[in-house]
């Protein structure tokens, strides 16, 4: 029968990526005498190799074999752990990662790099370490990798004669290893026509007989086109525990009959193990020798399609808690239904009290259940942080800077989707901090700072948000240089005084870089704007604080999850809508004298010293009903998105609540100005407003709508 093993490839890939991650982090903290870590690294490589071979990733298996051998020698103390070796192993980890990714996604691999690293491993395996005495080990391992072919050749060469004489004299304790001579004989029978004779001469008198020992030996003739290796393979497991003679049949053909002897009765074990007659059996098909080669290649095509179907590992504690809560819910439900049946017969007051209690319990259950279900999607941010030790290690080497990485709050949890999308921006910010922020050791020493620069990644929860801080103790943002660059690029007019905050904001402008030399690490000016865009897309924000000479801190704020958000419910012409709370700046009543009509720009509202475009929601959303109030009776909700403010005209503020976001795109189609929908407590559907979408929608109608500073206004 054939078993489809492709279904386990996903699991294999997941555990392999985990294994590679732990190899990497262990390698980075490895010292030469840390045998526990070396063992753990070895085990990870070993598992990957084993799985790769089984699931048909022969390239990965071959590559990992070299890595494993190197590690094996290190853990056996035959090879010293050097920094070169660690560097090579780290590179290998990358290669294996790339190969497995390629296998998963069908993406191309950097074959040249893998070949180079593979050759480097081979080369270092050939160099016999001075502590290494036994060079044979290497040779035999190298030979092993070529085994299938070599074995096939030798099998072909050893095409046997038409029969074999086999003498098998097991040691007394052979059965204690779980080997049963009968099974070996049965296996031989499958190779050809077998005649078996049992020699019972060594059997002791019954009273001395130990039923757990084997006193018997066998002499057999095996007829058929069988090669010697096939026979030896059957006895492979008892090699050293028996005397075995396998010789071509021509040597002695008639011994068999002479060996037949009688088996004494009463010996349960031996009687079972040794029928007192020659056995004759014709074997079925001899086992095919090419099995291993064909089986490993057959699993390959299935692995091509992208295997990442978005699975998640959940701590069993969380699942237990969920089950617990569902149990509570069931209890509440039965309590409520009991109260319901009492209503018809029992004391009404008692029932109402019970119902209210039950409802309160239901509310608590629901809230707990919601929190717990959400927490299933939550992963610790260490999943994103874990890549940085390696990155800092590499950057330190390539930039010639001395670096130290400090991580804190790694256990802070956030939604898996958010986590996946925040990783790239984080990488960018850390790179920037190292490249632009941290100075070279001599500059640092001259400034009276320690030569080793520190990058600190910190994560914590604050309100309904997760905050991630990336702090470096480098030079800080260079105000003068940023200003000069901004003027040069005409981002701001020359001579205008701007605040620190505005300067810091400039680094997020597209194409902005103050690096004098563009390095391969950073400085191309693509990135910070992308970083901000990506973070905004997650509903978050990023800001920077900097102190000259002391370093800078990037602060990222993100919602904990993308599927639930805090919303402000508003009423427009009798319809309910939700505005994401995060984009609301303030809400206010309209003061008539603050509303100005600007030609070609629609209406603006003067809020303190800023003019903000007024957006009439009922117009933008296409609701024109008599319910729409006069502007002066309406409320204004000032919102901000993409650095632009706008005042939305609404009829009512209905309340704040958490809403579960249902995508419009997947259920209907994308609609401008809306980011989704949600179901309210009373069962009605409310649409969620997309603030930046609304602003751009209003531009299409009334031309560019942007906030204007009064000075600018006067100048124009």
């Amino acid at each position: 029968m054939s078993i489809d093993i492709s279904q386990f490839i996903q699991t294999f890939l997941e555990e392999s990526f985990e294994g590679l991650d732990s190899m990497e982090s262990l390698l980075l903290s490895l010292t030469s005498d840390d045998s526990e870590s070396i063992n753990a690294i070895f085990r990870a490589a070993h598992s990957i190799k084993g799985g790769a071979g089984t699931f048909g990733f022969s390239e990965v298996a071959r590559f990992t074999h070299g890595v494993e051998t190197l590690l094996d020698e290190a853990r056996a103390g035959r090879r010293a752990v050097t920094t070169e070796m660690i560097a090579l192993l780290l590179e290998s980890v990358d290669c294996i990662h790339a190969m497995l990714e390629a296998a998963r996604d069908g993406s191309p691999v950097d074959a040249a790099r893998i070949a180079t690293i593979g050759a480097a491993i081979e080369a270092s395996l050939r160099t016999v370490d001075h502590v290494m005495l036994d060079s044979k080990t290497v040779d035999s391992k190298v030979l092993d990798t070529q085994l299938p072919e070599a074995a096939a050749n030798s099998h072909a060469a050893a095409q046997g004669p038409h029969g074999w004489r086999i003498v098998f004299i097991p040691e007394q304790d052979v059965m204690r290893s779980g080997n049963d001579p009968l099974r070996l004989i049965a296996a031989l029978r499958e190779l050809g026509v077998l005649q078996v004779a049992c020699n019972t001469s060594a059997l002791p008198p019954f009273e001395d007989l130990n039923a757990e020992d084997c006193y018997l030996s066998w002499e057999m003739t095996l007829l058929g086109e069988v090669n010697r290796e096939a026979i030896l393979e059957i006895f492979e497991w008892v090699e050293g525990q028996c005397e075995l003679i396998v010789e071509p049949l021509s040597a002695s053909a008639e011994v068999v009959d002479e060996m037949v002897d009688e088996v004494p009765h009463g010996d349960n074990n031996s009687a079972q193990a040794c029928p007192n007659q020659s056995l004759q059996a014709s074997g079925s098909e001899p086992p095919s020798l090419s099995v291993s080669a064909s089986a490993s290649s057959s699993a390959k095509p299935a692995a091509r399609n992208r295997a990442d179907n978005g699975s998640i590992r959940v701590n069993t504690d969380k699942i237990d808690a969920l089950i617990n809560m569902v149990g509570e819910l069931v209890i509440t439900q039965s309590m409520l239904s009991q109260m319901g049946s009492h209503l018809q017969t029992g004391d009404i007051n008692y029932c109402i009290e019970g119902l209210l209690e039950g409802l309160a319990q239901l509310e608590r259950n629901t809230r707990e259940l919601q929190e717990n279900v959400m927490s299933i999607r939550m992963l610790p941010i260490s999943f994103a942080f874990n890549r940085f030790p390696r990155m800092i290690h590499d950057l330190s080497a390539s930039l010639g800077k001395q670096l130290k990485l400090k991580l804190s709050g790694e256990h802070t949890e956030l939604d898996k989707n958010v986590l996946e999308k925040i990783t790239d921006p984080l990488v960018h910010l850390v790179r920037n901090a190292v490249d632009h922020g941290i100075e070279s050791p001599d500059v640092r020493l001259a400034a009276g700072k320690p030569a080793v620069g520190t990058v600190h990644l910190n994560a914590y929860h604050k309100g309904g948000n997760i905050v991630i801080e990336i702090t470096d103790d480098g030079a800080g943002l260079n105000r003068q240089r940023i200003l000069a660059k901004a003027v040069e690029r005409r981002l701001i007019p020359a001579g205008q005084s701007i605040t620190d905050e505005q300067i810091h904001d400039l680094i997020f402008a597209a194409g902005f870089s103050t690096a004098e030399v563009v390095s391969d690490v950073s400085g191309r000016g693509v990135g910070m704007d992308v970083v901000r865009k990506n973070i905004k897309a997650l509903g978050g924000s990023v800001e920077v604080q900097s102190r000259d000479g002391l370093g800078s801190t990037f602060i990222i704020r993100l919602p904990l999850t993308l599927s639930i958000m805090d919303g402000q419910l508003i009423g427009v012409s009798g319809e309910s809508y939700v505005i994401p709370l995060i984009s609301i700046v303030e809400s206010l009543q309209v003061r008539e004298d603050s509303v100005k009509s600007v030609a070609s720009r629609g209406m603006v509202y003067r809020l303190r010293d800023e003019y903000i475009p007024v957006l009439f929601l009922h117009e933008l959303l296409g609701i024109r009903s008599p319910d729409t109030k006069q502007l002066t009776e309406s409320l204004l909700v000032v919102v901000e998105a993409d650095g632009q403010r706008a005042a939305l005209v609404v009829d009512d503020l209905l309340g704040q609540q958490q809403v579960v976001i249902k995508a419009l795109e997947t259920n209907f189609k994308k609609v401008g100005g809306l980011s989704g929908a949600t179901i309210l407590g009373d069962g009605t559907v409310a649409l969620i407003l997309d603030v930046s979408g609304l602003i751009s929608l209003s531009r299409q109608i009334t031309g560019p709508a942007r906030s204007i500073h009064p000075e600018e206004n006067k100048a124009a």
Binding site: M1, S2, I3, I5, Q7, F8, I9, T11, F12, E15, A40, F42, R43, H46, S47, K49, G50, G51, A52, G53, T54, F55, A61, E68, T137, S140, K141, D144, L147, M175, R176, S177, G178, N179, D180, L182, R183, A186, A187, E212, E236, W237, G240, Q241, P287, V291, S292, A295, S296, S298
Partner: protein
Amino acid sequence: MTKILAVDDSNSLRQMVAFTLKQSGYEVVEAVNGTDGLQKARATQVDLVLTDVNMPGMDGITLVRELRSLPTYRFTPILVLTTEAGTEKKQEGRAAGATGWLVKPFSPDQLLATVKRVLG
């Protein structure tokens, strides 16, 4: 029904082994390392043990030794699953009392052939 204990810290390999054996009508008990395996072997008498060698916690070789010291596992076939084609690990396994070994990588068919051979 014939019961087989499969011990491997690698989920994918253990699942593959378990799935293959279950498809062929064996009852399979899974364990994630030596300690787990020993515990499960004590709880349920199995007819065959398949164990990986390199595992965190108790390794496969120790598991074999521990099992052999139990009266109910003195003659039970125990196979070690090893990637080592060399003789070192095999000898170590056999010295501990293993019946035999299966060299990784192996296909489901090879696994079944070996299991059938051991269980008769």
